[in-house]
């Protein structure tokens, strides 16, 4: 690849690139934190508040049932939401910066 290294350096230090990295890191860490909080919240409620998950929400069904299955669906939706953000906002910024670098 024939990329001018001073130009690359300029771009890496540009506000635009720094913003991109910051946004991406924020999203990655935020989503990771949400997932870990929800999961360990569930585990801790199993350890310390069993009664909560055993609450009956019908004649037989306990609250733990929809919550457990809901957690699996939530994990999937969270990846879906992340993809939506990445495909629209993140990729657009990536394309712009790539074009700037590869054109020069």
């Amino acid at each position: 690849m024939s990329i001018n290294s001073t130009r690359v350096h300029e771009i890496l230090n540009s506000e635009k690139f720094k913003n991109l990295v910051k946004k991406r890191l924020t999203m990655s860490l935020l989503f990771t934190a949400i997932m870990l909080l929800v999961y360990f919240g569930f585990i801790l409620s199993i350890a310390f508040y069993k009664e909560f998950l055993a609450i009956k929400i019908g004649e037989f069904i306990t609250l733990g049932l929809p919550l457990g299955i809901g957690l699996i669906i939530f994990a999937w939706l969270l990846t879906g939401y992340y993809i939506r953000w990445a495909n629209s906002k993140y990729d657009k910024a990536v394309r712009e910066l790539r074009n700037e670098i590869l054109k020069k």
């Binding site: 999961y39 350890a47 310390f48 998950l53 733990g64 457990g68 699996i72 999937w76 495909n87 670098i101």
Partner: protein, 515 residues
């Protein structure tokens, strides 16, 4: 006392026919793939020709082992709600793969995750250390799968254990040796479709007995076995145990070499992202199905019958399939379980072979200087070695209690592979010495602590008390690995690594220069 008529353990013609049809089709695919497998990129990464959706299915195929299908359904059938906790732990790692690993991995690596760890560090020491982490994870996972395969086939088909191991070993070597990643990918895809449709059909047939109403199924379960089956029970006795296991499952998923390797088969980071979304969806769906299968078996087969076949409940899904679908359906599900094991061991073998050839032979011994033809040859020899070792270990560990080995594989993946991978992507000041120290600390602590834990010290060695109290070591070994990486990198800074971080960022975030 419940009794049930079952043909489990007798030779099932349907099962044998379906299984051999699967082997014939997949070997046909291998023959087709062999013509397209000449270069290293073709052998290790299917020439990056797999689409995001296909790779998602293949990831699901790699991840959904017979242990999770039979084991979790069995656990649910005997313990009820508690079994669900396990499946949730296995799933929750996937979103993290998406948020932290998938795209940088695809952008930075070539064939193995060690490419990423070694990106800006000194090749030789880092490759050797990551290979240790990789190979340990793969070997422990392989032992668990091979021993499981031998016993399962022995129960299902009546073949002797040794013959079962050798059949599994030879067929999986054939896939990898001749068809490389392309054949292995299609084996995973077909297996995933078979497993998902088989499990779906099993759930539909089960629910049909309850007027297609899942609530009636749960109602019958509580009538038969009290309300307790729908509430958390004794699974979490010690919260630290649960947290430690949770950490191993979640972060371990993001450190399994055969899973990470799959991200190099797609053309770019966008497809890598898509494949995680697809995989998470299918795996989540599958775990929800196993929950219904477990409850179905609890009600229709009965806990006494299930545990009379296997204390851990591993035969629950099979007994249920016979109860709702007769002998033919039992044969189908049994064949699917067999195909499942075959696919998982093929993925593991390919990943182990690429560690031996790409990481150790090419980048350590030959210092990166080999030609294409030479490297493919070496990769094939490595496949034979790993395949042979898998067969040998399967034979050696016959009849041993290997249940802890999956937990150990995840603990090593979470404590040795995951920290070095994440730090190499996100931490500018990470160094060669830091990486090596972190991998060695993580893997050796994981092994040492699990040997001293109740899972091995008490259950395997039959001592009365464990020296280390937790069943899974991840809560100690994973943070220790991060801490050692931090301290050692701070004490011995590495200028070259910091300087190269700019190049790395360009690739991580923009994909410029990615292979």
């Amino acid at each position: 006392m419940e009794t049930i008529q079952t043909t489990l353990g007798q030779v099932n013609i349907a099962s044998i026919i379906i299984f051999f049809a699967f082997v014939a089709v997949t070997l046909g695919i291998t023959y087709w793939a062999a013509k397209k497998t000449k270069t290293t990129s073709e052998f290790y990464a299917a020439d990056r020709s797999i689409s995001g959706f296909q790779n998602g299915l293949a990831l699901a195929g790699d991840y959904m082992s017979a242990a999770s299908f039979l084991g979790i359904a069995g656990m649910v059938s005997l313990k009820g709600y508690d079994g669900l906790i396990y499946s949730i732990g296995f799933l929750v790692g996937w979103p993290l793969v998406m948020f932290l690993i998938a795209e940088p991995l695809r952008n930075l690596g070539k064939f193995t995750f060690a490419d990423v760890v070694a990106f800006r560090l000194k090749q030789k020491p880092v490759r050797i250390a990551s290979s240790i982490g990789s190979l340990m994870t793969i070997v422990f996972y392989l032992i668990a799968q091979m021993v499981g395969a031998g016993s399962l086939i022995n129960i299902l088909f009546g073949f002797p254990y040794e013959i079962a191991i050798i059949i599994v070993g030879l067929v999986m070597i054939a896939y990898v040796l001749f068809g490389g990643m392309l054949a292995t990918t299609w084996v995973q895809i077909i297996k995933a479709i078979l497993l998902l449709s088989g499990a779906t059909f099993l759930v539909i047939m089960t629910l049909a007995q309850f007027g297609m109403n899942p609530i009636t199924l749960f109602e019958e379960a509580t009538k038969k076995y009290t309300d307790a089956v729908l509430s958390p029970g004794g699974f979490v006795k010690n919260p630290w145990d649960a947290i430690s296991l949770g950490l191993a499952l979640i972060l371990g998923t993001a450190g399994l070499p055969h899973i990470l390797m799959r991200f190099f088969t797609v053309p770019d980071a966008i497809q890598a992202r898509k494949s995680v979304f697809v995989a998470t969806g299918f795996i989540g769906y599958f775990y929800i199905l196993t929950f219904f299968i477990g409850f179905g078996a609890m009600v229709l087969v009965g806990q006494n019958v299930i545990s009379s076949f296997d204390k851990g409940g591993n035969m629950a899904a099979l007994l249920l399939s016979e109860s709702v679908g007769g002998q033919f359906f039992l044969g189908f599900i049994a064949a699917v379980a067999f195909a499942t094991i075959l696919a998982v061991v093929a993925g593991l073998t390919l990943s182990g072979a690429s560690t031996l050839s790409h990481d150790l032979y090419v980048n350590v011994i030959k210092k990166g200087k080999t030609d294409e033809v030479g490297e493919v040859k070496v990769a094939k020899v490595a496949t034979l070695i790993i395949g042979g070792v898998a067969i040998l270990l399967g034979l050696i560990f016959k009849g041993q209690n290997v249940a802890f080995m999956v937990g150990l594989a995840f603990a090593i993946a979470a404590s040795a592979n995951f920290p070095s991978l994440v730090l190499s992507i996100f931490w500018k000041n990470f160094t060669t010495k830091g990486a090596v120290a972190s991998i060695i600390t993580g893997s050796s602590l994981a092994v040492l602590l699990i040997v001293l834990s109740p899972t091995v010290w008490v259950d395997v060695f039959k001592n009365s008390d464990a020296i280390f109290g937790l069943k899974n070591p991840a809560i100690i070994s994973m943070p220790a690995s991060f801490l050692v990486a931090y301290i050692v990198s701070k004490i011995y800074p590495e200028k070259e690594s910091v300087d190269k971080y700019e190049d790395e960022k360009l690739r991580t975030y923009l994909g410029i220069g990615a292979e």
